[in-house]
Structures are given as structure tokens and as C-alpha cells.
């Protein structure tokens, strides 16, 4: 578990008075794992043609993306300090026209995944072997465009595309019939279910995925805990979009230390 990244997330949200901490804690281990172990990139040349793509479709978890982009050199510590400020480039949802390494401007749910779908198709048309990963929320899977895209992705045999679903049970609060693995399998995706906070599980899965220009797209359903790592942030309550006080920030820091 990435405690230091979580501490930074809490700090920048506290400082800017904007952000979704529990949603970010839910996905930060996955994003960090991908940049550390899977994705090909050059932080000095974020638009390198041969790079792999990571699209954060659930844009409200962007604090997790930002701290990872800073860790891997796309943006600076000063950028993080200026998160949510008029002088900065980082806001409550990522803007790809401003943030090096942010591959899509997301926020309204259900957009990043179809963008990834088009990107995967476009790269295949040009016979390029880049891999495309797209992380979306389980609640986001309520959106129709997710299933339109799942349908198209399977029928177009986009073997260069990998969907990652943050299955933190947000969706089940509203629609309890929530068997995401069965649904992705039914749509024809090669589906794996793992613990989204376990490096061991991710090691067993992500490196073994077979990417190809023509093949089955993959769906990695990650069981996660919203607010993972800090007891009073975990679960589905008032902390979804709440800003910690200085005392609460101190408590978060203590629990993560």
C-alpha cells in the first residue's frame, strides 16, 4: 500500500480545499503499479508516439493520478502545491490540454472509456503496438456509453485495450445487482478479478496479459476499498467530497505512518 502517495493526496486536497480523497485512495495503488511496472513512457516527452496510454475515466479520482505523475516526473512538486489554484495546472478533474501525462480530460462519467476505445482503434489502424489502459469506476459502469463501448470493443477485437474497473462497491449502493465480472465476461472481454490494493495480485495479472492488435480486449475488475488505508475515510459516507480539517489531516497522517 502506498502510504506516502496517500499522505500527499490528503495534503494537496487539504491545501486546495478541493478533491475526492476516498475515490483517490481506492485507485492509487493501481495507478502507481501501472506506471512502475507496466506502462512504457518518457516523462520528458509525454507525447512520445510509442508510449502506452493510461486514461483515468473516473476523473474525480485525479489526485491519485497527479501524485503518481509527480512521482514519475511528468509534473513537479510545485504543480502539486498549486493544485486547485488559479496559477496551477491541476484541478478537480484532469485537463489533458494542461497536464503533461493526462491522456484525457474527464469529469463527466462515461467519456474516458470511449475515448480509449477510439484511441485503440486508431492505433490499430496505423499498425502501432501501443497498449491502452483505461480505469473507470464501478459507479461509472452505470453509464450507457460504458456498455456501448464494451460491445464495440469486443466486436472490433481490440486486443490492445485493457479496461480496469475500480470495484469499490459504490455502484451497489444504488443498484445492488452488481455482478460486474459476469457482465464483462458476457460482453466478451477477457476478465480477471483481483485485489486492487495487492501488488502480489497485480503482479500475477498485469504482466501476463497478452496484448495484440487483433484479439480479445481485457477487463481487470479490481476489488478495492474506497478510502483504503485510513479507518475513518473507508466506506461510503460523508467523506466522498469532504475536505479534512488540519486536525483530521493530522489523524490521516498518523494512520498512514
Amino acid at each position: 500500500m502506498n502510504s506516502n502517495l496517500r499522505k500527499t493526496i490528503a495534503q494537496i486536497v487539504h491545501h486546495s480545499k478541493e478533491g475526492h480523497i476516498p475515490s483517490s485512495y481506492s485507485i492509487v495503488d493501481i495507478i502507481n503499479y501501472l506506471y512502475e511496472n507496466i506502462l512504457s513512457f518518457d516523462c520528458q516527452n509525454p507525447n512520445l508516439d510509442s508510449r502506452d496510454y493510461f486514461i483515468l475515466s473516473k476523473g474525480h479520482g485525479c489526485a491519485a493520478l497527479y501524485v503518481v505523475l509527480e512521482k514519475f516526473g511528468f509534473i513537479s512538486a510545485k504543480d502539486l502545491e498549486q493544485y486547485g489554484s488559479p496559477s496551477g495546472i491541476l484541478g478537480g478533474h484532469p485537463d489533458m490540454t494542461k497536464v503533461p501525462g493526462a491522456e484525457a480530460s474527464t469529469g463527466s462519467l462515461g467519456h474516458g472509456f470511449p475515448t480509449a476505445l477510439g484511441l485503440a482503434l486508431g492505433l490499430r489502424i496505423q499498425n502501432n503496438n501501443n497498449k491502452i489502459f483505461c480505469l473507470m469506476g464501478d459507479g461509472e459502469c452505470h453509464e450507457g456509453t460504458i456498455w456501448e463501448s464494451a460491445n464495440v470493443g469486443a466486436n472490433q477485437h481490440l486486443g490492445n485495450l485493457c479496461a480496469i474497473i475500480d470495484w469499490n462497491q459504490s455502484a451497489a449502493q444504488l443498484l445492488p445487482e452488481d455482478d460486474l465480472p459476469a457482465r464483462w465476461r458476457a460482453f466478451g472481454w477477457e476478465t480477471h478479478v483481483i485485489d486492487g490494493h495487492s501488488k502480489e495480485d497485480m503482479d500475477k495479472t498485469f504482466p501476463k496479459l497478452k496484448f495484440s492488435l487483433e484479439g480479445r480486449p481485457k477487463a481487470i475488475i479490481c476489488k478495492t476499498i474506497k478510502g483504503k488505508g485510513v479507518s475513518f475515510l473507508e466506506g461510503h459516507g460523508i467523506w466522498h467530497h469532504r475536505i479534512p480539517t488540519s486536525e483530521e489531516l493530522h489523524q490521516i497522517d498518523l494512520e498512514l505512518s
Binding site: T97, S108, H111, P114, T115, L117, G122, Q126, G144, E148
Partner: protein, 312 residues
């Protein structure tokens, strides 16, 4: 007479054969006529399915990968149903696409309001990077598409089912530039797309009443050619717009903006105010909405009675 939709297919073949970046995606329409393009450009034609928001969103991804997407389906499905995708995935993300619709305002008159689209031009005009075209003849579409398709813009082409029948000089067809079809002195008629035919057919009716109209034709709504309008209205002092567009935000508004500095100009508008309920042919609906030569004369009699020779 060649249909614009057939010209669309021929133009895709022509441009796609020369430019390997062009990729055409459709929502299960025009599939048959696009087969020559599909055969000539393997791997660059997709009948994606009935999922218009995803198709528009995919266009953003295709463009991000370096390709030039064309998205084609019926106007309300591409512009109104997928408007958030146009706004965010193309507009906000600063990505480019060519959106090409058929059906226009109510070409599918027999199918009811679900297949009508009155606000497409207005909606697309909100984006600074958008260019909006309503060509009324095949020659215009071919020329305009080739001029702009790779310009790093969001291009919207509203294709009409019915050709206006005026044989335009190819050298006059320039994106963003209106065409003065006929010189006149008493009144400027501003029109777009198929309605140029109504304006042309109205000429003898108006001349019979002693009115000499000037006719301006706008195949490009955005960017709007303010100067041509200004020149004409400065001379005539009277403007009528004849448009298969929303009365709330069509070319009438552009005309007002263009001429506000002149002062004393008198205006008349024939446009679409609300859902066009009921069924009928395209011509039936045009007649009901005064989008016809007789409708033009009727509105001139009511809005500009002093122009009639009998009242001078």
C-alpha cells in the same frame, strides 16, 4: 439530380483514396453507398453500430491517435443525442472531427419529430473551433469538405436531402464566404441549404409585386460572412431570412449582429419555432411553415407592405 448523400459517399472515396488519415464511422446508415470507399480504403470504414455517443467519443480517440475521423448519421442522433460528447470529447479536449449528418431539419417528414433536428446548427455554433456548413448541392459539399476536413477544427456538415437546383460557379464556393446569387435593390433575402430554391422560385412572384430582391446564399453558417450581408443590407434596408433552422438561434441572429450598426433596418424571419408535429412530405412541411415561394411572398406582404408597388 445527384443527392448530397451520394456525393458524400463519392467524396469520401475521393479524399480517402488520397489521404490515408481519413477514417469513416457510421451509425448504420449509408452503409451501401459507402462500400466503394470501404473497398478502396480497407480498415478505414466502420459501421460501428447504433451507439451515437460512443461513435462521436471514438472520433476523439481516433483523432488523438493522429487520424482524421468522419462521423455520419442522422442529424438529431449525431448532434443532439451526442452533444455532451461533442462538447467534452472534441471541444474541451481540443480534438478534431468531421461530423456529417443527413435528415436536415425535417427531411424525414413522414417519420415524425424524433427524426427532425432544428437546433443542430445553433448547438454547433457555440464552439469557437467549430465550422458549420449547410450545403444545398453536391458540388458545394465536395468543394467545402476538401477545403476544411483537415483543418484542425470541428466541422459540421448538415446535408440536405433536396438539392436547391442552382448551378453554382465552383470558384465561388469558398468556406466562410457567402454567395450573392442575384443583385437587387429593395430587399435582401438571406437563405441557406435547400431553401435557396424557395428564394429563387419567389423571384417572379416578388417582381410581379414590384419588388426587386437581392439573394444571398450562405452554405457556411460559421464563420458567418458578415461583410457580404452588411454590404447588401446597407443598400436595401430590408432583410428576410429563410431558413430550416431554429427561429431562436439561426441565421436570423447572425443577420441582426451583422447589421446592428446600420440602424433603421427592417427584418423578417421564416424559420422553425417549435416541434413540427404531424406527418407529410418535406414539401408538405415546408408549405406549412411558409418555407416556400408563396410563404415568402405572404410574409413580405405582412412584414414589409410598403415595398409592394400597390402601396407605394
Amino acid at each position: 439530380m445527384k443527392k448530397l448523400r451520394n456525393e458524400f459517399a463519392d467524396t469520401m472515396l475521393e479524399v480517402g483514396s488520397a489521404d490515408p488519415r481519413l477514417v469513416v464511422m457510421v451509425g448504420d446508415i449509408s452503409h451501401g453507398i459507402l462500400q466503394p470507399y470501404a473497398k478502396a480504403c480497407p480498415g478505414r470504414y466502420y459501421n460501428v453500430g447504433i451507439c451515437e455517443p460512443t461513435i462521436v467519443n471514438m472520433a476523439a480517440g481516433l483523432n488523438k491517435s493522429g487520424l482524421i475521423p468522419v462521423v455520419h448519421t442522422i442529424a438529431p442522433f449525431i448532434i443532439e443525442r451526442a452533444y455532451e460528447q461533442i462538447k467534452l470529447d472534441l471541444g474541451y479536449q481540443n480534438l478534431d472531427a468531421n461530423l456529417i449528418s443527413v435528415g436536415s431539419a425535417f427531411d424525414y417528414g413522414q417519420l415524425g419529430c424524433s427524426h427532425h433536428c432544428y437546433a443542430d446548427v445553433s448547438l454547433m455554433s457555440h464552439f469557437k473551433r467549430a465550422q458549420v456548413f449547410v450545403p444545398g448541392s453536391p458540388k458545394e459539399f465536395n468543394a467545402l469538405f476538401k477545403q476544411v476536413y483537415s483543418q484542425n477544427k470541428i466541422n459540421y456538415f448538415r446535408l440536405t436531402e433536396f438539392n436547391h437546383g442552382v448551378d453554382l460557379d465552383l470558384t465561388q464556393i469558398k468556406a466562410g464566404k457567402a454567395i450573392r446569387i442575384k443583385e437587387g435593390n429593395h430587399l435582401t433575402i438571406v437563405t441557406t441549404g435547400s431553401q435557396l430554391k424557395s428564394a429563387m422560385d419567389a423571384i417572379p412572384l416578388l417582381q410581379n409585386e414590384g419588388i426587386d430582391p437581392e439573394i444571398l446564399y450562405y452554405h457556411t453558417i460559421k464563420p458567418f460572412d458578415f461583410n457580404t450581408l452588411l454590404d447588401s443590407v446597407t443598400k436595401t434596408g430590408h432583410v428576410m431570412t429563410v431558413e430550416e433552422l431554429s427561429a431562436h438561434d439561426g441565421i436570423f441572429n447572425q443577420v441582426i449582429k451583422s447589421s446592428v450598426q446600420i440602424g433603421g433596418v427592417q427584418y423578417s424571419q421564416i424559420a422553425i419555432n417549435d416541434f413540427v408535429h404531424g406527418y407529410g412530405s418535406y414539401q408538405d412541411l415546408c408549405t406549412r411553415l411558409d418555407l416556400s415561394p408563396q410563404g415568402i411572398l405572404k410574409n413580405i406582404k405582412s412584414d414589409f407592405p410598403h415595398l409592394l408597388k400597390s402601396n407605394r
